[in-house]
């Protein structure tokens, strides 16, 4: 535990950034009067309510304050986000600073490190809802330090999920270590009674993500994080489009957590509204936003990350973003109690998802006995035992090729080297070859990607 203090000192010294001591930060949290994200999550879970949170981030500080305030005024989100720009994510701080100086509007998010922790405190204090930092940094140590010094109580990311979808060649060893640092600081804070919510980004590359891959990765990250002392985990999963599969996947989160994570860890299932190619048509987009919220409700998700009806076009206007929250929140209305799904189908799907996850992580856990979980993960990615589609990073093979089945659920065209049992493979083969005409693979995959944006789910349904 002294270890982390030394690491921290070195990190801060190397950077040219002023930061308060950890004690001061702890005191800041102790003096806090508004609820933390962890507290909101815990109450929501007990009350069986779903919390609503948008993404949002602009370059300029004053504009960011306005954005948060306006969003809060227009749509009362339960938690608000500070989405970080892509320069900061990759620690290209000079480029961020250059953009800040010349034209902050060119930034696709808020450059938190450049603005500094006092500004972060201003952000947190300017609104009622607590903030979460959302980004995509393989090495988020500095960003995290600025965030907690700013009194922010929730931080997204992990050594796998914030590396593979976000960078081309950052070694996993580097990102896993950097995130272990973040988790150990969380552990340290927890010892002082300060609970930081750590959200794991199960969305990964977002497009056609097979549920078991998302769940396997976040489970492994959850094991690493809890080993490092993290006590509060939000585990997110990206809506894929088939309601039965999505509900089953979300429900699997708590089942897996109770089996593999230490008792006493607070775990919250989070749904990310559809993260693939979004419909351009505003009504279809709104429908998809509502649909996502309905999926979250049916599954009992504790939190929903909303989308806007401008998703297909670009970073949304504040009105469109607020509209997304309102459209999603409609799904919490009691009048939709009548909407239900076939629970036996969900259970069946959930059994298979859990099984797939366990088959995927089995070789990793086995190898981990000889070394460490961290090394086992690196080894597994090298050999393709852990893998995901559409990886941006060279450190995943991307031999997995997903497709949709006749019901729109996400299955495997190729499973790469994932260690699936014969039964799992047979079921997948049956589902994939099922029913509808397969054109050439490229056409099929692009139809599956543009499922909601090109009306293919309509065509599919008609079959």
């Amino acid at each position: 535990m002294r270890m982390i203090q030394l690491e921290r000192q070195a990190l801060i010294e190397q950077s040219s950034i002023q930061l308060p001591s950890l004690e001061e930060t702890v005191n800041l949290f102790k003096a806090r009067t508004k609820p933390t994200v962890a507290q909101l999550l815990s109450t929501a879970k007990a009350d069986k309510k779903m919390l609503y949170q948008p993404r949002c981030g602009v370059g300029d500080h004053k504009e960011m304050v306005d954005l948060l305030r306006t969003l809060e005024g227009l749509s009362r989100p339960d938690i608000l986000s500070v989405t970080i720009d892509s320069y900061t994510r990759l620690l290209k701080l000079d480029q961020a600073s250059e953009a800040l100086r010349t034209d902050p509007r060119k930034l696709n998010g808020y450059p938190l490190i450049n603005h500094g922790y006092e500004k972060a405190r201003e952000l947190e204090m300017s609104i009622d809802a607590p903030l979460e930092i959302r980004h995509g940094s393989p090495d988020a140590r500095l960003l995290f330090e600025v965030a907690i010094a700013g009194g922010i109580t929730s931080f997204e990311g992990g050594g796998i999920c914030y590396n593979l979808p976000y960078c081309k060649d950052v070694p996993l060893r580097h990102s896993l270590r950097a995130w272990s640092y973040v988790d150990r600081v969380c552990g340290k804070l927890a010892q002082h009674g300060v609970i930081i919510d750590r959200e794991l980004f199960g969305t990964l590359s977002a497009v056609l993500m097979p549920p078991a891959i998302s769940l396997a990765f976040t489970l492994l990250e959850g094991m690493l994080a809890t080993n490092d002392g993290v006590r509060c985990l939000s585990i997110s999963y990206p809506q894929g489009g088939n309601v039965v599969q999505d509900v089953a996947a979300l429900r699997s989160i708590l089942e897996l957590a109770s089996k593999y994570l230490p008792e006493g860890t607070a775990v919250y299932p989070v749904l990310h509204e559809f993260m693939g190619s979004f419909p351009k048509d505003v009504i279809e987009a709104d429908a998809l936003i509502f649909y996502g919220a309905m999926v979250g409700r049916l599954a009992g998700a504790t939190k929903l990350i909303t989308k806007s009806n401008q998703e297909a076009y670009g970073i949304p206007s504040v009105e469109s973003n607020a509209g997304g929250i309102r459209t999603a929140r409609m799904a919490s209305a009691a009048m939709f109690d009548f909407v239900s799904i076939d629970e036996s189908l969900v259970q069946e799907e959930q059994r298979w998802i859990i099984r797939e996850v366990e088959e995927i992580i089995a070789p990793v856990l086995e190898y981990a006995q000889k070394t460490s979980l961290q090394e086992a993960i690196i080894w597994a990615f090298e050999h393709g035992y852990l893998d995901m589609p559409f990886s941006s990073s060279r450190y995943a093979k991307s031999e997995v090729l997903p497709v949709r089945d006749a019901d729109g659920a996400i299955r495997y065209h190729s499973q790469g080297k994932l260690a699936f049992s014969r039964e799992t493979q047979n079921r997948n083969r049956r589902l994939v070859s099922d029913s509808f005409e397969i054109k050439d693979l490229a056409t099929r995959i692009s139809q599956d990607i543009f499922f909601f944006s090109d009306g293919h789910y309509r065509a599919r349904k008609a079959v």
Binding site: S86, Q95, K106, L107, Y166, C167, S205, G314, S392
Partner: protein
């Protein structure tokens, strides 16, 4: 057809990790007989130039960008072209500016920094490659 043998250098801009369209384009070009050197996401102008250096027979540089940072990421392009380090036409496509409200006029800026062709959608890429001989600046 000579066209169908030509070589394309493909990649995504430096600060941008979006890779799905990149995979689809690579697949599509290969299916249509092109040879593709895919540099993938997060590719700096320097890396594009280096790849061109190794592949001077490339008939085009096809760059994708989705995160809205295209203009910033490509600002050195003109310099590389002027210094002769990139001599083939440069095609740019994707989501080129931050925000949902796009202004057609903003595209002019890309021509100023050395882009030759700006496209909206993947479907426009094959036809645009066909047109390249005419060496004209084309906005579809």
């Amino acid at each position: 057809m000579k066209k169908n043998k030509s070589k394309i250098i493909l990649g995504v801009t430096e600060s941008d990790a979006h890779v799905v369209a990149n995979h689809l384009i690579a697949y599509q070009l290969r299916t249509n007989g092109y040879e593709v050197v895919n540099l993938g996401p997060c590719t700096s102008v320097a890396e594009f130039a280096e790849a061109y250096c190794w592949n001077p027979d490339a008939s085009a540089l096809v760059i994708g960008s989705l995160n809205g940072h295209a203009l910033g990421d490509l600002k050195e392009l003109l310099q590389y072209k002027e210094e002769g380090k990139i001599r083939c036409p440069v095609i740019l496509g994707g989501n080129l500016s931050v925000g949902a409200d796009k202004n057609r006029k903003d595209l002019e800026k890309f021509f100023e920094i050395g882009v030759d062709v700006v496209l909206d959608s993947i479907n426009e890429l094959l036809p645009a490659l066909e047109h390249l001989n005419q060496n004209e600046r084309l906005v579809v």
